[in-house]
């Protein structure tokens, strides 16, 4: 398809071409063979073991042609080896096709005590927790999730010391666990991530808060352009949630996608009280004004309200500056 300016674009259709199915079968066979070859390579060549073991985790392309590079003996992943989080578990069963989500809990994580799970997705939401909450010494990391996908390769390159998703617990109040997601989770990993994470927690008595962000350009409203001011917070809650949200509810035709949607779906069908907040912002990188918006969400987190307010009184301005200057 040619655009007005003469560029040639491939036409994208939401429908899957029926003929692709047959090709897909073939692709699957090829990928399976490549995986087997790759596994054989790992164990036969000890010198390259580190790189070769990581390569399938980092070469998550659906295209067989890219993967063929690895099978042909070129073991260097698209992301440099030094950028791989050092604690990423090396699991021979993790293949390119399966795009597994691996959860690892540290000793003494004791997740059964958790009654409040706070999940932050997106750069502003994750930065808000980093700046406003996790700067206190009373938080300790209790686990992390390792994700292999194409989107995380860039993130690997930027933050070599931090995995895509980390769980923190407050030493004084073990009932609260924070999950900070700063990496990218593929569409076909989101359901699996949610099932695995929630499978580790006791469902009875659990309440969940999700903080997420979205570009304001995706917000649809009849009179948005004239009346709204960014950033602003909107929320959506499951039927079992009884709290009175401190911000307006998301209205039609806006939707939640990604991890917030996967979490809300899971909690809706499992009757776990959950509120998801989405901050619409026009800033493309984390900024303090957008982060401030999330404070509103923390005024309704049930019995931990006073506890969170204690943290939120400290703005950590200096830290914000350091953080933003990176």
């Amino acid at each position: 398809m040619a655009t007005f300016f003469g560029e040639i674009l491939s036409v994208h259709s939401r429908a899957v071409e029926e003929d692709e199915e047959d090709e897909n079968e073939e692709d699957e066979d090829i990928l399976e063979e490549l995986d087997q070859k790759r596994l054989a390579c790992r164990y036969s060549d000890n010198g390259l073991a580190g790189a070769s073991m990581m390569s399938p985790k980092l070469s998550l392309s659906k295209s067989a042609s890219v993967d063929a590079l690895f099978a042909g003996g070129l073991m260097w992943p698209r992301c440099p080896v030094w950028a791989i989080p050092h604690w990423a578990p090396v699991d021979p069963s993790c293949t390119v096709q399966h795009m597994e989500v691996h959860l690892e809990w540290y000793p003494s994580s004791n997740l059964m005590q958790c009654t409040n799970l706070i999940i932050a997705v997106g750069s502003n939401a994750a930065s808000f927790l980093s700046v406003y909450v996790l700067t206190s010494e009373s938080w300790e990391a209790v686990g992390h999730a390792s994700l292999c996908n194409a989107g995380n390769q860039n993130i690997c390159g930027q933050t070599s010391t931090e995995p895509a998703c980390v769980f923190y617990r407050n030493k004084d109040i073990p009932a609260v666990i924070i999950c900070k997601i700063s990496g990218y989770i593929e569409e076909d990993q989101q359901f699996q991530w949610t099932e695995k994470v929630f499978g580790c927690f006791q469902q009875n008595g659990l309440s969940v808060t999700v903080l997420s962000d979205s570009p304001v350009a995706e917000y649809k409203n009849v009179d948005f352009a004239s009346s709204s001011s960014t950033p602003f917070l909107l929320c959506l809650q499951t039927n079992s949630s009884t709290i009175n949200p401190p911000c307006p509810l998301l209205e039609q035709p806006n939707i939640f996608t990604g991890i917030p949607a996967a979490v809300l779906s899971h909690c809706q069908v499992n009757q776990i009280p959950t509120v998801a907040y989405q901050c619409y912002s026009d800033a493309i990188s984390p900024d303090s004004v957008t982060m401030e918006t999330y404070k509103l969400a923390f005024t309704s987190v049930g019995d931990i309200k006073s506890f969170l307010r204690r943290f939120l009184r400290r703005p950590y301005v200096r830290f914000i500056n350091v953080f933003l200057s990176r």
Binding site: E18, D188, L250, P253
Partner: protein, 259 residues
Amino acid sequence: MFIPVEATPPSFKDFTLILPAIAVGNVAQLAVDLIVSTLCMRRVGFLHTDCLVPMVGPSPYATSAKTAGELHTTAEDAEKKLAVLQIRSPIIHSRSRKFRKVLVSWIKASGFAQTVVLSSSHAYQRDDQQLKGTPLRYLVTPAMQKTSGTALTELGWMEMEKVSAFPGLVDTNAEPRLSVPGGGITKGLFTDSCQEELCLAVVLVFCSEGDNVPDAFTLVNHLNDWLLLVDNDKRGPQKWKVPSSWTLLFGNSHPPSIF
């Protein structure tokens, strides 16, 4: 996996199921929205599966501020005289076969009397014979042919033509084949249903990407001629209730401040 909203799961025994195929222009989903909205169907459950891209939103059929905060997820069922499955997000490509299996096994287990798949296909890929007459076509499985084949023929509906394997070439050995370009899982689901001896019909419309609301009305009116979902005396789009989620289908209006 079907998860009922209430403690007692609904019985779908001998019900008619209508479901959309995620296809070109999302015509089928729009048509299903019209059916659910017009018949004021209530939600009875979710199809919770890893085969669909996660998505949630407020009630798509909200008529007042009170119901606007209700949560709706990827797929849902509503029940009255018939059951309708709405699918609100794309199928993850690598799991489309699994999704078809999930659907077929659920349809069999629930005991639906018949299943109607609404779908669409690329208008630009029609061959000469498909260009003739109405853009609406149907397909029925052998099991469905026995029960409803005559009714559809009497309505004057046109069956989806098979296309030659090598257009333009005369090859006596190549058999014409069924092709639904842009139809998503339509062909796969139809083929699976034939093998599983399900009572299934596909009703589809040829269309192009763009404003597909008129196509949705065409499709749902066509379906109504057969299933008589609403009173056929009313003419035109007035008999169908457009849901609130159809607002701003093409984004926000222009910001006045730019002038």
